[in-house]
Symmetry: C2
Subunit: 475 residues, 2 copies
């Protein structure tokens, strides 16, 4: 009861900030006044205010109270779309992308280029204890069926989590995978054959583009806004014009744009695809990192026909390095099991067992609350620094979840050139062009904000901003 | 010194049995006489005789001494080849195979159909302690490079093992994979494109055929003898006739035939393929399960040009369920790393760390000695039972390693029919036709001999033999 009361109040205040009723600098009501007004205890109000503070919405001023925070990027211009209409790429020559990926892999002193979360964000000690405890009681996969589908205990826990999030995915539909990437790979393979066209966002995470290329698929990139993704009318017309075998989309915490699609739009998307019989591979590996107090359900929640292949992972939410993901495969479970049989056969058992043990013994929800609050703070810090140090005309996203910032610099800046000079200073960044199958995003970069804020991190961002500024003044 | 002395003597006696100088029932020299003759201690002779006993070559008779064992299958007829000439299959319709695989996956009371080793063969307690210990000190993959290539500690241990086996594979060439199956899958993908032809043994392990089919590859199956594999002259002429993109072969403990190719033949094979520039994907996941005291090195040992992609695994030798394999990729490392980036991205860290820890703290060699001796005994038991219970005219292999028996029953027996009636009695077997892309091996089955011998196991084999006999008498 208490938990939902403080959350309800925090959500109310957050929506007042969002719709402009409360503006930066406005004072929140005193704890005593708010408690009387809302008919809750003062403890509940304190809990709500502390939550909003941790999430970066308000700040406490000593001897004075809580004030709505001046979020520097509130007035910030958002990045522009890279495309005005859908673009088809049959075969791309992404040699430069491959070279870049090779460099991204290198160990940089300040690694802002990869999409790997900072390891300090995760409950490593508790996971290690779970690993040790589950090892002792581990009987390993008894049957080949367990090996192929994944440990029943873990599949049960995943099905439970779907229930907690407010929808039903039976455990029979779940196949545990070697991380989210295998989930996406198997899902795509289950619904396409070489030569087919896959519809995706532009920009989109580059590993997905690599995968599409390696599977011999063509790609239709949709013009995607930083707010709610692409327009469903444009999608409808694109499906008229092209034979699309499947869509591969992120509906929550889109990488690199950071938006979460509203549930109503997800429902419409699923309905539109259902009418045309087009499967949706929903890459939802950042699902649990939404900043809003009320988590938006996945498109999978509206999938009555088994056409949505929902891909999840513990890599970004709980246990990086364990490489445990899953796919809720809808009507394609058999195709995915067959594929897995001939690719990795099964998923390593001890990490599955450790995660199942952790989820039984600990509050995943509590860990996620801390994780989201930490990420909100780090994204805010990075946003402040980018706003401060990057040249005039720079635009960047206001992520609704995850931990990456998508930055549009002035036209004069070539992100590959910046990537190279930054690398020579041991700073890793992800240049914009690798996020598309076609040339584009020349003056965009993506930064990873998951690392703890520090003087050296700030110095790196300052250095980047100045290097971008120098590029502008040289033109 | 002592270890090599006893092994030298055991090898000498083994070769005398092999070439017929010592026959079943012959007495070995007394311990005293042998010690004097070989100029070693009596302890060394006792150690050598005990080793031969454990390996099933000799038996101790109380108050009498050691005698060469009457190996029931010594006079046994070997199975015949399924092919007389190479056969090309462009696209197979293996629907029935897929159905069968689905059933193999089911949990049978007596599972003789899968190729999974019995879990009791492995040092699970020591591995669990290693998992717990390495979890505590685990820093997880620090860089993306570690994640993609595998833990440096483990790659170092694998490179060390190659050295112990007598050849050099630098750790830079190694990529750790999600089990041996991913190693083979990545290796094949690195050297082929859809539509290419791959040359394989016939019969061969069915998961490999599934993989080839799913990658859109055609297959050339070679007539393969149960002794030393296919004829290199036939290989040469086949390479003249067909454009072969790669060979996928098992050179040690071939599954299902059980032979180990001699090193001289492996050298010739590598040289022949080198001259024609054809890569060899060497599936060597059973390598450590050779029964001979002197382990035969892989074809990789003779690979001076980086054309051999050597695929190994700990699944059959140390840690089933951990799903940790590797590929020594030769000149194809970059292609494999790129592929892995877009399929599973990386391999789970804790199991890698646990295996590295185990290999540091324990004697892998000692575990393998015990494992091989146990498997020799179990394969012998199964051979005895098959010889005793199966109908007249049944032929079966004398495996030089591994734990499967390839059985040719009389023509009248349909192995799919036997498979189905056995399944209804909760006995799982692998029917012969799934080991080929083309119709064939109708009256063959493969049995898994890794399970501890027991009255219920014997009853299952007796039941199978009688069912096969009934099929014969009904014709």
């Amino acid at each position: 009861m208490t938990a939902s009361a403080y959350m309800r109040i925090a959500q109310l205040l957050e929506s007042l900030v969002a719709n402009g009723s409360l503006r930066p600098g406005d004072a929140l009501p005193s704890v005593r006044a708010a408690a009387a007004q809302q008919r809750v205890s003062k403890g509940t109000i304190i809990h709500a205010y502390a939550t909003l503070e941790a999430r970066g919405f308000v700040e406490a001023r000593p001897q004075s109270g809580f004030y709505v925070r001046a979020r520097t990027h509130a007035g910030n211009a958002l990045p522009q779309r890279g495309l005005t209409r859908p673009a088809v790429t049959r075969t791309s020559s992404r040699a430069r992308v491959r070279d870049t990926l090779g460099d991204l892999v290198g160990s940089k002193v300040t690694s802002l280029g990869s999409s790997f979360p900072d390891p300090s964000l995760f409950p490593m000690q508790a996971l290690n204890r779970a690993m040790a405890a589950s090892s002792r009681s581990n009987s390993f996969a008894k049957t080949v069926a367990d090996l192929q589908l994944g440990l029943p205990d873990l599949r049960h826990a995943i099905a439970q989590r779907y229930l907690e999030l407010g929808y039903v995915v039976p455990m029979e539909e779940l196949v545990v995978t070697c991380g989210g990437m295998e989930a996406i790979s198997l899902a795509l393979q289950a619904v396409t054959k070489p030569g087919d066209l896959v519809l995706v966002d532009s920009p989109m995470f580059f590993a997905g583009l690599q995968l599409i290329e390696q599977l011999g698929l063509g790609v239709v990139e949709m013009p995607t806004g930083v707010d709610q993704g692409f327009n469903l009318g444009v999608l409808d017309r694109t499906l008229d014009r092209h034979k699309i075998a499947a869509c591969l989309l992120m509906t929550n915490c889109q990488n690199p744009l950071g938006f979460c699609m509203e549930e109503a739009k997800k429902r419409d998307l699923v309905e539109l695809l259902r009418r045309r019989g087009v499967p949706l591979v929903e890459n939802d590996v950042y699902s649990e990192l939404q900043f809003a107090l009320r988590q938006s359900r996945a498109a999978k929640a509206f999938d009555a026909d088994g056409l949505v292949l929902h891909c999840g992972s513990y890599t970004k939410s709980l246990a990086p390095g364990f490489k445990i993901g899953w796919v809720a495969a809808g009507r394609f479970r058999e195709a995915i099991v067959n594929r897995k049989f001939a690719t990795t056969l099964g998923t390593s058992v001890p990490p599955q067992s450790a995660i199942a043990h952790y989820l039984k013994e600990h509050s995943f929800e509590r860990h996620l609350r801390t994780l989201r609050q930490t990420l909100v703070g780090r994204v805010n810090q990075m946003s402040l620094a980018v706003g401060q140090y990057f040249p005039k005309g720079t635009r960047f996203t206001q992520p609704q979840g995850g931990y990456v910032l998508w930055i549009q610099m002035p036209e004069a800046v070539d992100s590959f050139a910046l990537f190279e000079v930054a690398a020579s200073h041991e700073i890793g960044i992800a240049p914009g062009p690798i996020f598309s199958a076609r040339p584009g995003y020349r003056n965009f970069i993506r930064l990873n904000c998951s690392h703890p804020w520090s003087p050296s991190l700030e110095a790196a961002v300052r250095w980047l901003g100045r290097a971008a500024g120098t590029a502008c003044s040289e033109k």
